[in-house]
C-alpha cells in the first residue's frame, strides 16, 4: 500500500464520482438545492413580516372569514378626458372606499387598557393603575 497525499486522494474520489453514475449525483444536487431554497423562503417569510399577517396558520380559522378578499384587480382609465362626470364617478368610488375603511378597526388606544387585558383589579383592589 503506497502513501497518497490527501489532496490527491480527494481529487481521485471527486473524479470517480464525476465519472461514475450521474443519477445519484443529480438526486443529491436536487435535494440540496431544494433544501437551500426552502431555508431561504422560510427566512424571508419570517423576516419580511408576511408571517405576522398569514391567517392560514392554525388558530386563525375565524379571522380568515373576516378578511375581505377582492380577486379582481380593477383597472382604471388613465387616458380619457377629465370631465365633471369622470370626477363624479371617481368620487363615488372614493367615498365608498372611505366608508369601507371606517368600518375597520382603527387601532384605538383603549384596546390595550388594563381592563381589556384582564389586568384591572376587581372588588376595589388596592392595585394602582
Amino acid at each position: 500500500m503506497s502513501f497518497m497525499p490527501p489532496i490527491t486522494k480527494m481529487r481521485r474520489r471527486t473524479r470517480k464520482i464525476l465519472h461514475g453514475p450521474k443519477l445519484p449525483l443529480a438526486l443529491t444536487g436536487a435535494i440540496m438545492v431544494s433544501f437551500a431554497l426552502t431555508i431561504i423562503s422560510v427566512v424571508w417569510y419570517n423576516l419580511d413580516g408576511s408571517s405576522k399577517l398569514d391567517l392560514s396558520r392554525p388558530g386563525y380559522e375565524h379571522e380568515r372569514t373576516e378578511v375581505l378578499t377582492n380577486d379582481t384587480q380593477k383597472t382604471y382609465d388613465t387616458t380619457s378626458p377629465v370631465t365633471k362626470s369622470a370626477i363624479n364617478d371617481f368620487l363615488k368610488e372614493y367615498d365608498g372606499r372611505t366608508k369601507e375603511l371606517g368600518s375597520y378597526g382603527s387601532f384605538t388606544e383603549e384596546a390595550l387598557d388594563d381592563n381589556n387585558i384582564q389586568l384591572k383589579p376587581q372588588n376595589g383592589g388596592s392595585a394602582t393603575q
Partner: protein
C-alpha cells in the same frame, strides 16, 4: 510598550462593561419600582387570562391590518391613475401629486408602525409573566405606545384622504 497599551485597553473595556452593567441594573430597578407590588401580584395571578386576551387582540388587529392594507392599496391605485389622467390631459395638478405622495408615505409608515406594534405583542406573549411580571407589563406599556403610533397614522391617512377629496372637488369647477 504594546503590552502597556493592551493592559490599558483591557482595563478600559472592563470598566465600560461594569458601567454598562450597573446602568442596566439601575434602569431595570427603576422600571420595577414604577410598578407597585399589588400590580405585580395581579399580573402574576392573571398571567394566563391576560395573555389569552392579548392573543385575541392580536388576531383582531391582524384582520384590521390586512383589510386596511388592501383598501389602502386600492385607494392608492385609484388616485394614482386619476393623477395620470390629469397629466395625460395636460392639466397641472401639483397639489394632487403632493397629496398622493403624502398618502403613500403615510401608508408605508402605517405598515412599519404596525410591524413594530405586532412585534411588541409577540414579545409580550413570549414572556413568562408568572416569573417576570414586570417585564411583561413593561412590554405592554411599549405596545400601547406603538399602538398609539399606528392609530395616529390611521387618523393621518383619513385626514389626507379628506384633503385629496376636497382638492378633487375644486377641479370639478375647472373642467367641462
Amino acid at each position: 510598550m504594546i503590552r502597556r497599551f493592551a493592559k490599558n485597553g483591557i482595563v478600559i473595556l472592563a470598566s465600560l462593561f461594569v458601567v454598562s452593567l450597573s446602568a442596566s441594573a439601575v434602569v431595570s430597578a427603576q422600571s420595577d419600582s414604577d410598578m407597585t407590588s399589588d400590580k405585580l401580584e395581579l399580573v402574576k395571578a392573571r398571567c394566563s387570562s391576560s395573555q389569552f386576551a392579548l392573543q385575541q387582540i392580536e388576531k383582531r388587529d391582524a384582520v384590521s391590518r390586512i383589510n386596511r392594507g388592501r383598501a389602502y392599496d386600492q385607494m392608492l391605485r385609484q388616485v394614482s391613475s386619476f393623477n395620470s389622467r390629469f397629466t395625460y390631459n395636460k392639466i397641472s395638478a401639483p397639489d394632487l401629486v403632493q397629496l398622493t405622495s403624502d398618502l403613500q408615505t403615510a401608508v408605508d409608515t402605517f405598515r412599519a408602525n404596525y410591524d413594530k406594534y405586532d412585534t411588541d405583542i409577540s414579545d409580550a406573549l413570549k414572556i413568562d409573566c408568572k416569573q417576570k411580571p414586570a417585564d411583561y407589563y413593561n412590554m405592554i406599556l411599549k405596545a400601547r405606545d406603538d399602538r398609539a403610533a399606528v392609530g395616529d397614522e390611521v387618523n393621518k391617512i383619513v385626514d389626507l384622504m379628506a384633503q385629496y377629496r376636497t382638492a378633487i372637488v375644486t377641479y370639478q369647477d375647472k373642467v367641462q
